[in-house]
Amino acid sequence: MNRPLIRTLVFCVLLNIITGIVVYRIVSHLNKKTAVVDVIQLCDQYNLKKELEAHEKVKLEAINAQLDSIANKFRMAQATKNTEEANKLGNAYGYLKTQLQNEYNQGNKEINEQIWKRLNPILEEYGKRHELHLIIGANGMGTVLYNDEYFDITKDVIKYVNKKYEQGS
């Protein structure tokens, strides 16, 4: 085999490889897609949220029990026309009710912060692993008006985030 022929062969092979790489990149880029996740479903079915809410519930129930007890004493004081006692209990009841509301709001805020602190990096990892261009969060507020099942990856994402959470990786 003469030299020019070898050179042409090598050139052709290299050209083919480069064309192959370019075509592969274009095709894989085209294959990337957009997907939709139902955020409410995702949050509600995220095990961390369920567990944090269960923990929070215990705290709120304790305050609620105190509130019920004061309400009963307040009713008794009213029935026996013990005005001074009724006023005291009325104030305590108001204070505890505000505390319960504050605890509830604070608890909700903290739970939301905690779950999004975990979900954001996992969703990013999921998107990269599945070669997605964009994940849209449908939350019932009108951001996504309609999507068919083709774009809906909610179930798969819920499975993924819960597996990550339980295994600790």
């Binding site: 923990h55 339980e166 295994q167």
Partner: protein, 202 residues
């Protein structure tokens, strides 16, 4: 007939090879246990926090304790550790710029309260799921490093029901981080990973 015997011999040989646990020398053994890929050391990243949850087989504990001690009584210690499992829960800021105990602390009182929590109350926020059992710690130690390193470690031990020689089921370590508001942090150790771990060449 000869063929049958040779097949049986081969099968027995293969079985004995697979049944025997690999033995590694100290440094390689430690490397294996702490390598995330082997499933015994789990890293959980939450925001700017990093949690490392390490399962420590008895060989790991004994090797660390025996370093430089020629009188170390391996047999007695091994018997003591039978039926128990031990973990390290370490945590630090990703940037490693400040000790977790000092992070966002506004007063000495707050610092002391945090230290007191880790010294005395953290075990109530730690549990081990072993099959269907939820086990609370039987031993706990906060390895305070007097702020010399930006990482803190809790050492926690559990008694396994029936006191088996080694864990027989998947285990899940759960820590509820209320101090830095990271929620529940979990690490699952599969029985395959535990069984696959080599033994220490003593």
């Amino acid at each position: 007939m000869n063929k049958v015997v040779s097949h049986i011999f081969l099968a027995v040989l293969l079985l004995s090879i697979t049944a025997c646990k690999r033995h590694l020398n100290g440094p390689n053994y430690i490397k294996y246990i702490t390598d995330e890929k082997n499933g015994l050391n789990k890293m959980v990243q939450i925001g700017d926090w990093e949690f490392e949850m390490l399962y420590k087989p008895s060989d790991y504990i004994m090797y660390m304790e025996s370093k430089g001690d020629k009188q170390y009584d391996w047999n007695t210690r091994s018997k003591n550790l039978t039926g128990t499992v031990w973990f390290n829960i370490s945590f630090k800021r990703k940037s490693a710029d400040v000790s977790p105990l000092k992070y966002n602390v506004s007063s000495l009182e707050e610092y002391n309260m945090r230290l007191n929590y880790f010294l005395n109350y953290a075990p109530k926020d730690i549990a081990l799921l072993y099959g269907k059992d939820t086990i609370k710690p039987m031993s706990y130690l906060f390895e305070t490093n007097y702020n010399l390193t930006p990482q803190e470690t809790m050492v926690v031990g559990f008694d396994l029901p029936g006191r088996p020689e080694a864990p027989q089921k998947d285990m899940q370590l759960v820590y509820y981080d209320q101090v830095f508001k990271n929620g529940f942090i979990k690490a699952t150790y599969s029985i395959e990973s535990i069984d696959k771990a080599p033994r220490l060449n003593k």
